[in-house]
Amino acid sequence: MPPVLPTPPCCPLISPATPMPASTFFTEFRAMTGFTGRFFREGFRPRYEWLELLNQCYAIGYQSLPLVGITSFIMGLVLTLRLRPTMVQFGATSWIPVMVGLTIIQELGPIITGLMVAGKVGSSIGAELGSMRVSEQIDAMEVSGTNPFKYLVVTRILAATLMVPILTLLADAVGLGACYLGINLQGVTSVALFTNNILGRLTFGEVLPAVVKTFFFGFAIGLIGCYKGYHASKGTQGVGVAANSAVVLSSLMIFLLDLVAVGVSTAFGLI
């Protein structure tokens, strides 16, 4: 048994060196809820920062495009090649397109896009806003007659919410293209047959939740990145912590939201 340390006389129960995780969690949760509330209060009232929103859409969307494209291409290809031997065994090779298609459209496309954007965009939002906070640039904006919350936070959250679904659609397309390529590496299928095979069996109810959840993914990435950066503590260390925790938390959030999405779709009988 480890030796029992004597408790300091002033504070017999709670030592400040070991903050209670639960209380920290709830404080953080409350602060984040407040931050979200502020987004809805301030985000939809003039003045609107259209130009900065466009800038952010460009930054978030266009710059994540190569990363999302490459990863979804590889996933589509690998999935097809892996699946093929099993399907051959069962004599069900004609099911490959629809199986891969469903997997990509419903799960892999959204998840991979979400994770990639969380890694690239979440961290950069956290670091950027964090360093702006630390070097008083956010205060400088406020002094220059700008609401920094609207200019920096609202635009980034909206841009992420809008761009993640678009990126996901592109990722789906690239992934399906890679699947088509994978099938053609070991056999021949025409594009028409391939698309018919997938589109003919996909129902609206299967696609809708997959699209809807990507808006939430984007919102979570933007919100968490902005929250962490906007509330970064002073010092260069604060910037690193902001960027790091933005990625970790938003990646985790994507999986949680995915779980919720499955639950909700099941409840509505969409699965």
Binding site: S135, Q137, D139, V143, G145, N147
Partner: protein, 261 residues
Amino acid sequence: MESTVPPAPAAALPTPAPAAEVVLTVAGISKSFGDNHVLKDFSLTLRRGENVVVLGKSGSGKSVLIKCIIGLLKPDAGTITVLGQPVATLSHVALDALRAKVGFLFQSNALYDSMTVRENLLFPLRRHWLADHQGQEDQLVLQALDDVGLPQTIDQLPAELSGGQRKRIALARTLIVPPEIILYDEPTTGLDPVTAREIDQLIRHVQQKYHASSLIISHDMSCVRLTSDRVILLSEGRSYAEGTYAELLASTDPIVHAFFE
């Protein structure tokens, strides 16, 4: 302990003109961060065209004071009136309008490091809707850069500039929307003596050119001597002593004297 230089009643001050209108009043403000009582019942007044220097030790709450004046921090008690308007009770819109008339030079410069010098200067201009068209914007930017003697840096990023250059660009950004009051947070700290004196001259030049009032925070005694019409010594969160540079220099109070050694 009592100051040997009693705070002179504002009306009796010889400089600049006794009748000049008061543009900034800080009345008995207090500000604490937890148990750290930074400002305790601090007061000052600033008149039109006057340069007042607030002198104080590091950590005495000078930056906190001017952040309260510009509304970045809220004092726990007391009132601040800028150009006749009480800062604490203003709406967002009114506060923005007021801030267009008040320049603020950050101690850390706070230049936007993702923007070029030109974009840094354009930011407050566009935000306050001041320039009507592109040509006028460019002209104002060049004018502001000329004022600080750095027109060649217009397309550079802040990271490519030296500390002194950054300070000057920050000053240009502060001055591009012509202010009635300028708050300088340690304009010369960390600069070499030559550059520091140039900044001092710039502060004087700006005061004459715009007939602006300035509140300058500093513990650089040359800066205090060259720029001040009046000096306030902030100690223990209070206005400890007040007078002209010469008056404080002549003081025998040990705390005041310590700054002038």
